[in-house]
Symmetry: C3
Subunit: 360 residues, 3 copies
């Protein structure tokens, strides 16, 4: 998403450098980059109340960071990426540090990339890219996979601690190089270190594999977390496909969490209709529990979310947007649209937000 | 204050970009900026003790940040500003994140600016710009408006929590465009969100209006905070004027806090005398309480502060400075010059500091 | 270490600026810089257990920061340096802020430098530069001087609070200018401020002095911390020498901590053998206690550490490295190689790590 703007900054530094040094033998870039996103949001949970608020990161997540690349010759390069959370509305960058991403890579054009540090999990990567709402804002299904969001496999495994749904620390990744077969993929091993589940330091292993078949893209991913001391096998798998038909881009996916006797299936059906500088987005998300989370039966707990969005591209880096969403719970599910007051079993919530998103 | 240096950084990136791309259709800038300020300070509270310390940000606040602007065409632009606290003496940047300012703006040359996020309150803007000591250092009157600084309207309303005196989070601001009448102004609405007073998330509303009449500038501002759960109407109003007579720049102002039965009037009279690279500054500040804060009568509580400063401009970005200040309390007031040991009722304190301030 | 890359970034900004402004009268630079370092590490403490982990900063510390310089004319310049901790493996930048270094300087070519803020202590500077493992990684002796690392003079003086072994806040430093006699040195006074030992705010005084005699460099340093309320004189002294014989660079040193009746001598003998892009490093470290720490006799407590390292320079900014180390405790010493499970008295620990280090 940040490709264009960061290239600008790179070019600036490279060009001046080249001008001075004649033919620069080793190319080097360093970029400061980020996203500022703010929206005015009104949400309501039936029978509980409403909240008028300013939200941060409803089109894409607000963030800032540094990244750079050094050409080492012979197709080899070293690169790094540091990316921090950010709340446009309050200025907070919590939790502290570069917890969105912190990676160091050695890459080769033919052999692929070795990447070390904190990064997205293979399953999250294979899920969020099919969501037209980028996993954020009131149209997102973040709450389906937050720790302590109710009786779910995620809560059963991780409680209120951080989980390994979106990101993993202490990871070694191997990423396939670009190739002519359209195949992409990666393999990740994250070290649990002390084997205590804190700060995403979970012992995890998994990977993803996808294939580009012209306008169709199909992919699958699996990621399993197992900490000797606290967590038995937590299984996270995702399969999804998209079809770019020109006038509309369709996508569909299934992500499944399993922990002991608890199961959760997340379904996604989505569409994006672009026309010139405009874009209309739609998504339907369903979470369906099954089995037992801890000692509580979660059979019959489920939630459906519908989201409709409109985007106007002011430039390649800046958009204005509006989103409306509604969430209906069944059984003892207590999910709400993001930012809405905490729900009660079987509640219905809805919200509306409009905002501006600016990449730098 | 940072205009000059940041323009340099912008130009660097722009020029190289333009050179490469031919005529760049959209202009873009990204700046890293900040202030490093350190001073050696000695303060003394009569009958309590003295402290020898290194202070940070006594000429202007130490800080660092990122800001940028994108030209969207037709007079429209998008811009952002992220600015963090910084302590030169210890390296601490607390509280974490960009809590000095975090804003995203859409601006139009004729229609003005829509700004979202965390920023100064209208009343603070209308107060600090008339203070020759920039609201910081031992010559400043920050303690007059800190939460929990004694029995004052601010403490009665906010207790030891953060207040909405200097900054507001979750704000939507409309700012008037530059115009030929010399009129400037803004309107701010900040969302309380959960209506619980934490992290400056107060429900506030207000604005400011000023007019430039040649060498004279007059302005007024009002800002009211009301959280259903914790805070009744806290009223903050400020009127001030300045006259630039060439050999001396004079300013005077009144800021009034009101909360239930408690009142506080802050008076400011100040002068700046520039001669070449030198500058002599003087300010007199008085805080005068009245009524009842909680159940305590604060009638007769007051404090007077006198400050004298000298500045030597080593360049446009770097100055050396020295400041001396004294504070006298009456009644049960316990204010001290910043950095001096906590006072006792009716105490007298004084201090001296000399330091260096460098903008980047 | 960062000289090369940061000069590149400076040049970029300077050159574009010069091109635009014609002959720039005042030169100005602003650099974003840092190090990303990640290693896979396996450590083992005999009779306790092993840990497989990802480590950050085993060749040089991971970090990021900002620094800049302004030429004020007549040999005078203003400069600043902000440098933050960073964990490549998790993205954490804790403790928050720029606690590796936060300084503001006025420098003169003939008169030397006045530096204010948080920086290395003179003794740490005089110790770490002789360590081929840069005081980090499993070959380092960091644990010999951490607070609360066992019964040592450091623990007796500082308990589990931060100490003044590596860095001091609130410091005023004077640093000698470059001169033709090969003499270098500095003097530091750090203010204790409230005289309570928190956040490195210790009342300290000391300096260092060294002389370059062709291939031989000899230096000595002393730093004493004394807080009225909590700490009597804690004495930290270091003498060391290095000899660059071309095929091998040898170094040796002694650092001595004293607090009341407790003494600790740290001995270092080290060698670096470079050949082309390769480098082999060796170090032997011994910590030997004596006297009484609190009420506990520490006579006979000691620890020996052996480290062997290999470095391959992929470029001037990027290296791959591998290190092996072993630690043997005697008496009641409980030191372990960094990252190994906490030891027991007289334990033996060892470890191996290989990683990548990239400067930007």
């Amino acid at each position: 998403m940040n490709r264009r703007t960061t290239r600008i900054h790179s070019i600036a530094i490279l060009s001046a450098l080249t001008a001075l040094s004649g033919a620069a033998s080793a190319q080097s870039s360093l970029n400061v980059f980020g996203v500022m996103d703010a929206a005015v949001r009104r949400t309501n949970t039936d029978g509980v109340g409403h909240v008028l608020s300013m939200a941060s990161g409803s089109y894409t997540s607000s963030r800032y960071g540094f990244r750079g690349k050094e050409d080492l010759g012979n197709g080899l390069s070293a690169s790094f990426w540091l990316e921090s959370f950010l709340s446009t509305d309050t200025g907070l960058a919590s939790p502290e540090g570069f917890q969105r991403r912190s990676t160091l890579s050695l890459s080769h054009a033919q052999w692929g990339e070795l990447r070390m540090g904190r990064d997205f999990t293979p399953t999250h990567q294979n899920w969020s890219r099919f969501d037209p709402f980028n996993y954020v804002g009131i149209g997102s299904v973040q709450l389906f996979s937050l720790s302590a969001a109710g009786n779910t496999p995620v809560t059963a495994a991780f409680g209120s601690n951080s989980n390994s749904i979106q990101r993993s620390s202490n990871g070694v990744q191997y990423i396939l190089p670009r190739n002519s077969w359209g195949v992409e993929g990666s393999f990740t091993k994250a070290f649990g270190e002390s084997k205590v589940s804190a700060n995403d330091q979970h012992d995890s292993i998994g990977g993803r594999l996808g294939i580009n078949l012209g306008p169709v893209f199909v992919s699958a991913a699996s990621y399993t977390t197992h900490d000797d001391k606290t967590i038995s096998d937590f299984k996270d798998r995702a399969v999804a496909a998209s079809w770019d038909a020109g006038v509309v881009k369709l996508s569909a996916g299934l992500r499944r969490f399993e922990y002991k006797d608890a199961k959760q299936n997340n379904y996604l059906i989505a569409a994006i209709v672009p026309f010139g500088a405009h874009e209309v987005k739609f998504s339907f998300n369903r979470a369906k529990m099954g089995g037992t989370a801890g000692t509580t039966s979660i059979d019959g707990d489920s939630a459906d979310q519908l989201a409709l969005g409109y985007v106007y591209h002011l430039s390649k880096r800046t958009v204005a947007y509006a989103t409306a969403a509604t969430m209906r719970d069944k059984g003892n599910a207590r999910f709400v649209v993001p930012g809405s007051p905490a729900g009660k079993a079987g509640a219905k919530s809805q919200g509306f937000e409009f905002g501006v998103n600016h990449e730098f």
